[in-house]
């Protein structure tokens, strides 16, 4: 497998502030690679340097053999970019947007129109092609935003948080699209602050925080760092107040940590089946009704917590 992207010690300063502090990684052809990190970690800044929008303060990267510093045009021809914020002409229709952006990628004539039809099909907007983008829902706009990045069949696609702020169905559709594209042979660099997305999509994940890549590897390799823990998830009723229960759970032997988010209590333990009985007993004592219980293997969220002491979500 050849590396389609190689990043060496990439640095970006905004004035005195260093947003990216010497990041290095590579992506192999055919992979989906995720950059996972909270808001402000430096994901967009990194993608901006890789897509030749910003010049790196230091370091370099090669995309499909072209240096972002020395041959930005070569890089631009090889990549597709789906920016974090929508970048479309709202007064033009979906089709007109795709045609215009296709022209910017040097497509024209019959190849352009047939490619635009293909992409419309792929993003599921064929029947809305002649509607102005400003009449679209957030999810539909996101899909057009992705479509623009696919027009010239790039070898490498950069997707910067493409699911932020949309409904669950649209998110599902987008994640499926990413997987489809990858099956058809496209390499994808995907950034997100949703652990589940990184877990579902990626072959390998880089965890980025405060401009530094703090861990990199397959999901298995990463979770191994946390040690052999499991997490019990208790789903409780809406009207319950589980905070007292959570403190009681923290006092149990073999419980490393306990937390509550909405109606979910999570209990981190070296062995779920050993603590299950005592956890249920404690809940019964307090009259809290448990709807269901899940057992989870260590996840990327736990890895992030382990490495930074903070939760991934803000």
């Amino acid at each position: 497998m050849t590396n389609i992207l190689e990043v060496q010690n990439l640095v970006k300063n905004y004035g005195d502030f260093q947003a990216v502090k010497g990041v290095s990684f590579h992506i192999q052809e055919g992979e989906i690679f995720s950059l996972l990190g909270p808001n402000g970690a430096g994901k967009t800044t990194t993608i901006s340097m890789l897509s030749t929008l910003y010049e790196p303060t230091a370091g370099d990267a090669t995309v499909a053999g072209h240096s972002v510093k020395k041959n930005p045009m070569g890089v631009r021809n090889a990549i597709g970019v789906v920016p974090q914020d929508l970048a479309l002409y709202e007064d033009l229709t979906a089709k007109e947007n795709l045609i215009f952006w296709g022209q910017m990628y040097n497509l024209s004539g019959k190849p352009l129109t047939s490619r635009v039809d293909e992409v419309l099909e792929q993003i599921g907007l064929t029947d809305k092609a002649k509607n102005k983008v400003k009449t679209f829902s957030g999810g539909m706009k996101r899909r057009v935003n992705i479509g623009v990045g696919l027009l010239h069949k790039p070898k490498l696609l950069f997707m910067d948080e493409p699911t932020v702020g949309i409904d669950p169905q649209s998110r599902r559709a987008i994640l499926d699209t990413v997987k489809d594209l990858n099956k058809q042979g496209m390499t994808v660099l995907y950034t997100t602050h949703y652990m589940e997305e990184a877990e579902e999509l990626s072959n390998r994940v880089g965890i980025i925080d405060h401009g530094e890549l703090i861990a990199i590897g397959t999901q298995k390799e990463l979770t191994k760092q946390v040690g052999e823990t499991e997490t019990l998830i208790l789903h409780v009723g809406e009207n319950e107040d589980p905070s007292a229960l959570v403190s009681a759970l923290k006092g149990l032997p073999n419980v490393i940590d306990a937390n509550v988010v909405n109606n979910e209590i999570s209990v981190v333990t070296p062995s779920a089946k050993d603590v299950l009985a005592s956890v249920v007993t404690k809940a019964n004592e307090r009259g809290i009704k448990i709807h269901s219980i899940d057992i989870r293997e260590p996840n990327l969220e736990a890895v992030f917590l382990h490495l930074t002491g903070r939760a991934l979500r803000d």
Partner: protein, 417 residues
């Protein structure tokens, strides 16, 4: 080059889809043209309220047939709305009046003017030429008067050449001897002298229409319509400027910069888009007023050249405003202010001639003033040659503003690296 064109075309499409933009680019200037036309009486017949009344003085030292005919033309009923003609016998005093700006033009017909014209070997020397003495601060009015005078002189020339040719033919054919020729020519001159009084036909027409029997009334709309169009051309260029900043804040500029398109092509495309939209607006307004009000804009090539030059100059201003502004909304509000100020200074509402001197001088920085000069002289029959000054001024203005804006855009770092 192709991408620059495609980006410009995209912007043209977007502008003409924006309802608010259509209202300001086309509907408002059109309605204002009608409104001001009504106020000035363009749509009611023979109403004098739309008079320009350019003050001129004619000094007739010739006191012979042609000199009298010229005075008669300038004092005629047809031109009463346009000119306020007085006569005098004192050339020096007349020039002084012009210098003092009390009179726009002095026309001085030298003694012996008629004699010279009808002598077979007419002298082209200056002492026999009609002197056109105009106040340089009133190019529009002076241009109108000059156009009328040129029309008269062209007609005289035609007659004279016709006369000489006939006389020459008579000599060649042996009907008369060369010695007799002078007398014959004078007789023809005498016949010519009676022509204007013998028939209803006037000596000149007010436009370049080749049909000499058709005299056009002075059309106030020929002044109002370009004034309004030019005013809202300034709206269009600031609208275009706003779209440059909107592409930046809306993320499309960033996206363009990661396609294989360089920043010069992108900026060029944006500028071209402003230019295209402005030109489209002007041509639509010109077409609409010609069709609906039978407004004669004049020499077609001249109109086209002037539109391009005016849009070029105005685009320069749009870019300058954009280069100073931080947000699209700032471009919008500064643009509206500039639009109004330029319209007033440039004579869209009131002829600049009634304004204080410093305003008139200042008005030269507006594309409105120059283009309006050009449109007025075209409407009064001027050809492309009469546009030399406005065209040069507008092009120079555009180039200077482009350069300054380019420097400012560079400093502003539209494309952050």
């Amino acid at each position: 080059m192709l991408k620059t064109f495609l980006i410009g075309l995209k912007d043209l499409k977007i502008a003409f889809r924006d309802r608010a933009a259509i209202i300001f680019m086309l509907l408002t200037p059109f309605l204002l043209t009608i409104g001001m036309g009504l106020v000035t009486g363009r749509f009611s017949s023979n109403d004098n309220s739309g008079a320009l009344n350019i003050p001129i003085v004619i000094v007739n030292l010739d006191n012979d047939s042609l000199g009298d005919a010229l005075v008669e033309v300038f004092s005629s009923e047809e031109l009463a709305d346009l000119l306020e003609t007085t006569t005098s016998q004192d050339a020096e005093a007349a020039r002084a009046l012009v210098d003092k700006d009390e009179i726009t033009v002095a026309i001085i017909i030298p003694a012996g003017f008629t004699q010279n014209i009808f002598s077979a070997n007419a002298s082209q020397s200056e002492e026999h030429q009609v002197e056109f003495y105009a106040n340089p601060s009133r190019p529009t009015s002076a241009g109108i008067v000059k156009t009328i005078l040129d029309g008269f002189m062209a007609r005289v020339d035609e007659m004279r050449v016709g006369g000489i040719t006939s006389v020459t033919q008579l000599i060649i054919s042996g009907r008369i001897s060369p010695e007799q020729a002078n007398a014959v020519a004078e007789e023809m001159g005498a016949r010519f002298e009676n022509t204007p009084t013998d028939s209803d036909e006037t000596l000149i027409t007010l436009n370049t229409s080749t049909n000499q029997t058709e005299t056009n009334e002075v059309d106030m709309l020929a002044y109002i319509a370009p004034g309004m169009a030019l005013m809202f051309l300034m709206y269009t260029v600031s609208y275009g400027g706003r779209s440059i900043l909107a592409e930046k804040s809306g993320g499309t500029l960033t996206r363009l910069l990661v396609t294989p398109t360089n920043s010069m092509q992108i900026l060029g495309g944006k500028v071209f888009g402003i230019f295209l939209t402005g030109a489209a607006q002007m041509f639509i307004l010109i077409g609409a007023t010609s069709l609906l009000f039978q407004l004669q804009w004049g020499n077609m090539l001249g109109v086209i050249l002037l539109v391009f030059a005016a849009v070029f100059g105005a685009t320069g201003w749009g870019l300058l405003i954009t280069a100073f502004a931080r947000t699209p909304n700032q471009v919008g509000s500064v643009g509206s202010a500039v639009m109004l100020i330029f319209a007033i200074m440039g004579g869209s509402f009131l002829s600049t001639e009634n304004m204080p001197d410093f305003v008139q001088t200042l008005s030269k920085i507006t594309p409105n003033a120059w283009a309006l000069d050009g449109f007025t002289s075209l409407a009064f029959g001027g050809d492309t040659a009469s546009l030399t000054t406005p065209l040069l001024a507008l092009l120079t203005m555009g180039i200077l503003l482009f350069l300054v804006s380019a420097v400012l855009f560079g400093k502003k770092n539209l494309v952050q690296k």
